[in-house]
Symmetry: C2
Subunit: 435 residues, 2 copies
Amino acid sequence: MIEYRNIRIALLGAGSVGAQVADQILRHGDELAARVGAGLELVGVAVRNPDSARTADIPQHLITTDAETLVRNADIVIELMGGIEPARTLILSAINSGADVITANKALLAHHGPEIFDAASQVGAQIFYEAAVAGAIPIIRPLRESLAGDRVSRILGIVNGTTNFILDRIDTLGESMEASLQMAQDLGYAEADPTADVEGFDAAQKAAILASLAFHTHVPVDQVYREGITKVSLDQVQAARKAGYVIKLLAIAERVALEDGREGVSARVYPAMVPLTHPLAAVHGAYNAVFVEAEAAGSLMFYGAGAGGIQTASAVLGDLVTAARRHVIGGPGVVESAHANMPIVPISAISTRYNITLEVTDAPGVLANIASVFSTHGVSVESLEQKTVGVEVPTATLVIGTHVGIEADLAATVDALAASPVVERVSGVLRVEGL
Amino acid sequence: MIEYRNIRIALLGAGSVGAQVADQILRHGDELAARVGAGLELVGVAVRNPDSARTADIPQHLITTDAETLVRNADIVIELMGGIEPARTLILSAINSGADVITANKALLAHHGPEIFDAASQVGAQIFYEAAVAGAIPIIRPLRESLAGDRVSRILGIVNGTTNFILDRIDTLGESMEASLQMAQDLGYAEADPTADVEGFDAAQKAAILASLAFHTHVPVDQVYREGITKVSLDQVQAARKAGYVIKLLAIAERVALEDGREGVSARVYPAMVPLTHPLAAVHGAYNAVFVEAEAAGSLMFYGAGAGGIQTASAVLGDLVTAARRHVIGGPGVVESAHANMPIVPISAISTRYNITLEVTDAPGVLANIASVFSTHGVSVESLEQKTVGVEVPTATLVIGTHVGIEADLAATVDALAASPVVERVSGVLRVEGL
């Protein structure tokens, strides 16, 4: 066996994930070296404040604030600082100095993925980002490699642990949205400002990354349709369960056949009703899962912890071993393939099902009136349940499930229902996925 | 972009998987080429009988009976003929002619893995075998790469679709074992001679492959402990469900701490009670799933179709794209690492829990007598349920769940119970996993 020189690793950031990664490299170096076929040498850890308390024992001489010099002297740069800048500039520097890059930075990839992948392909560098989506769950590599000979048709992902934790508590404990969010904050799952999670921004970034990868095309994050979970009520969750569904915040990436014969891609995030028999319905707490439908492989699901320092560190280290093995092998990297160049399909053009809850006047002719709203818009009703609720004033609650329809028609139907004189109120609209 | 010469692919076998693979290469060659960065050329398909009917339109000039010549003139050899010989000899020829090899042949890998991996590492060839375990589910690559920087502690796999189909019907439809097996045969899930599936031989081969890969060591298939599902009764399945469990045939690979401070590996296959809350409990029908516990990543699960021509073809094509990309990149392959060299832990030394059903005389002192059998063997009882069943002769059914104990002690306890004068009959013993 040829002795290979040590592979030089630079770490940017020593927060909860970075500290775990440093710790693993420093403590399990021999085992990693055996798997790689060469030694792994941590040559430096760039931090903002060298005097901050660290959770790992990183030798002081490795700590530096000069990230720019560090990345120019490494074979592999691991970026775990987060945020757009200076992460973007440092990664581009690393690429141009000939290093491979490992990053868990979903915001950066969602916003500047093409720039980074293009820079990498110019010089034959490789970008690894298993930790950027769904934490420790291997999903990037299966999409990139295992399914490389197949055609993915759809991805339904529970990719945000915080919102799954909240929705699961509402469903299983009957808690209110507010109480569940408070508990998520108390346990550290949700930030003091929970907007990124509960409004679906985090999930949208992951949807952009998954859609780009699965369909070999570029999906900008600002073209991901996004609805958060803040309008989901305990009533809705309980009614859904009674009907055999659970409400999950889904990140959806879908191949869509266009009228001109081309194919487009839809990427979207919204809370949806998922049948209890679907494997995604069994994903509880802060766990993540990505359900993939491919033409040949059929249905696949990848399940695991979506966040957490040590779990995310596992994904980073998997990338590190792969990247380091490639250094031992030599040769240029695999180019991130975005050859498909598919048009982005707007939310209005996608196909889905609606579940609509209406408060209506309970009088003769009302049902016929409502039915005509649906038929006028070409939307077909699949199920209808009526509950009489008003005693003095006769009102009723109608829960209407549609067949698959075009989003624009479904939305127009809801608008027309809201404007109808027999409808007191549209009290809830949810899409149904996974049927 | 440099134009790369076509990569020459030889296919051995044109059965249900082989025909699908040929079809995909012939029909989707352009898309595969875009993903690889070079053309893929199917240079030949070796079959036993060139006149057999094929499900795919393979041009007649590609069909050959001279597999030996074919493999010596290919860059990548895809072996889908199955069986030990001539598959083994042809794969070794391919390796020695400088080809990379893709195989779905679990029997060959379980029995001759080390010989094949050694031959490949001698010449820097690479062996891909995603399709050999759990069909289309990407499990080999995640274990090989994604978790390469982590330490797997345990794998619990539902890796045989036939037995899962049978057990699921018993559980959900209340069918007998015989009726479920008959249905599996009628639907083509089970062979006329179902021994390989129902006695766990197929699962044991997959357990050997998974254990070898997860623990970077060699686990021979004849050292995998194996029990099939033929002794599982409808009564047991129903009693398990009432108690909150479902019975699944599990392939288990586990890292075991030995008394001398070293680590060993246990690989075993048996029907076990799995809590209904465990993600594996939601795996229905002929689906497969592999649940992986790793030190850093925590719990992961990989779910999907375990068999089927087109599903397995998806896994083969994923390997093909990876292998072909490596040809474009050049350089020697990654050596299959079996550096750990761990001792195999016999079934008697593993830790597990027993669930024991006893028919006993219903008389004073019987419970004390039975309790003493457990304590004599150092086995701690976790739960005990008594149902009085005899009316004329007072007998009772006892269902006893143990805490975790050493298999040898648990088995000795069962032997002692069977020999006890107060025990009429030990009517069922099942291990409990996934708690």
